[in-house]
């Protein structure tokens, strides 16, 4: 008999039979992608985030956890993070040789990854807030910052669409980010009535 239960805050707490991986992915897949993308971004390989998540899921499909998993979100996010770090590590090996890797990516094998999960969750919540705050910008500033910063489109392309120079897009980005930050601070300060 399946005996998993869902806590009110969304964490699936297990007592015996694990929940379906598909159901877990629907709930935590977004977090897995974000964490993998963040790790890979540092090596200029954010586009491989989907592959890292796929590696993690295949690995879990093939070797499901044997013991109880008390926090599936932490488990899945950590799995995605490890696979992303594997990719960063192998990229460094290809470019710089194995001796470089050890010093640059100690945390790939460290136990501190699990401890980072809470910090990752905080980052994702703040990221969602940043996205919500885009609504306070006027259309042109929102597009400038959304396209160039969030979606990483070339400034020249965005500039052409907005009918301005690339330099003007850079000028628009700064006050837009400053306004976003101000709004985030206001909301995080509990003043969002």
């Amino acid at each position: 008999m399946p005996v998993a239960s869902c806590a009110s805050h969304g964490t699936v707490v297990m007592t015996a039979v694990p929940p379906d991986l598909g159901a877990l992915y629907l709930r935590y897949g977004d977090a897995m992608h974000k964490v993998a993308a963040s790790v890979l971004r540092e090596a200029g390989r954010a586009a491989e985030a989907g592959d890292a998540v796929s590696d993690a899921i295949v690995s879990i499909m093939a070797s499901p956890p044997k013991g109880k998993v008390r926090n599936w979100e932490a488990f899945l996010v950590t799995a995605a993070k490890r696979k992303a770090l594997d990719r960063v590590r192998s990229a460094y090996v290809r470019h710089a040789g194995p001796e470089f890797v050890e010093s640059a990516h100690d945390r790939g094998d460290g136990t501190d990854i699990a401890e980072d999960v809470a910090a990752d969750l905080d980052q994702r919540q703040r990221a969602a807030l940043a996205w919500d705050c885009l609504a306070i910008l006027d259309e042109r500033h929102r597009r400038a910052v959304q396209e160039t910063v969030a979606l990483e489109r070339p400034r020249s392309e965005v500039a052409a669409e907005l009918g301005v120079s690339p330099a003007r897009v850079s000028q628009m980005t700064k006050p837009a980010l400053a306004l976003l930050r101000e709004e985030m601070n206001r909301r995080e300060g509990g003043n969002d009535e």
């Binding site: 039979v17 929940p19 992608h33 989907g50 700064k174």
Partner: protein, 222 residues
């Protein structure tokens, strides 16, 4: 010292080249106050970037496809069959919803009721499999196949290839799912690859599926 234009350019460069930030900032001639201001703006920029780098839409996500999370017309839950199987299992719609929640799915009684009385077209193959498990009914007795919407030619060709059936059997075995669910899952996986903009030929699609299945089989045996 930098003027306003230089600072705008610096910020744009730091946003565009996140992996080079340390190097760029080390050589930037800016005051401590400007450095703090840039750090704050970059933090905000990074949060925005993060917000846009979550999971792709289900139909474009090969991982979701691999997990059987993309609804498939050839493995569609049949409303009347669900209702019959549920009654045969002597469960209420509320019981079914409760058992699905215990398996991690976020559904309420109203969802199960809707599948039985209106439409179940949005129920993906993985959930069909779980419903079958919960009701103790073979998947084949719960589904009806509607004609597929037009798929790209190379996906159709791969689906018709004799090797595809072998792959379906292997995936069904290693994943402990029915052949219908396995076939729908593998087809979705091929479609998601195509949606990502790749244009593999049928043989490449099948080789890619073979590699995926082999990796799960290999790890399962270890």
């Amino acid at each position: 010292m930098m003027n306003e234009e230089d600072r705008d350019r610096l910020l744009a460069e730091l946003i565009e080249k996140p992996q080079e930030r340390e190097h760029i900032l080390r050589h930037a001639e800016i005051s401590d106050r400007e450095r703090d201001e840039i750090a704050t703006l970059l933090d905000t920029a990074d949060l925005l970037w993060l917000s846009a780098h979550g999971a792709p839409a289900l139909e474009d996500d090969p991982v979701a496809a691999m997990l059987g999370l993309v609804p498939d017309r050839e493995c569609q839950l049949d409303s009347a069959a669900l209702s019959r199987a549920r009654k045969r299992a002597r469960l209420t719609v509320s019981d079914v919803a409760g058992r699905l929640r215990k398996r991690g799915w976020e559904f309420e009684t109203g969802d199960v009721f809707r599948w039985e009385t209106r439409t179940a077209a949005d129920v993906p193959p993985a959930l069909v499999q779980t419903i079958a498990d919960v009701l103790g009914t073979p998947v084949d007795e719960l589904i009806s196949a509607s004609p597929s919407l037009s798929a790209p030619d190379h996906v159709v060709a791969a689906r018709r290839h004799p090797l595809f059936e072998q792959l379906v059997d292997r995936w069904a075995r290693v994943q402990h799912v029915s052949p219908a669910v396995a076939a729908a899952t593998l087809e979705s996986r091929m479609l998601a690859t195509v949606h990502r903009g790749e244009k593999p030929d049928p043989e490449q699609l099948l080789r890619s599926l073979d590699a995926l299945i082999a990796s799960v089989e290999r790890a399962s045996q270890e």
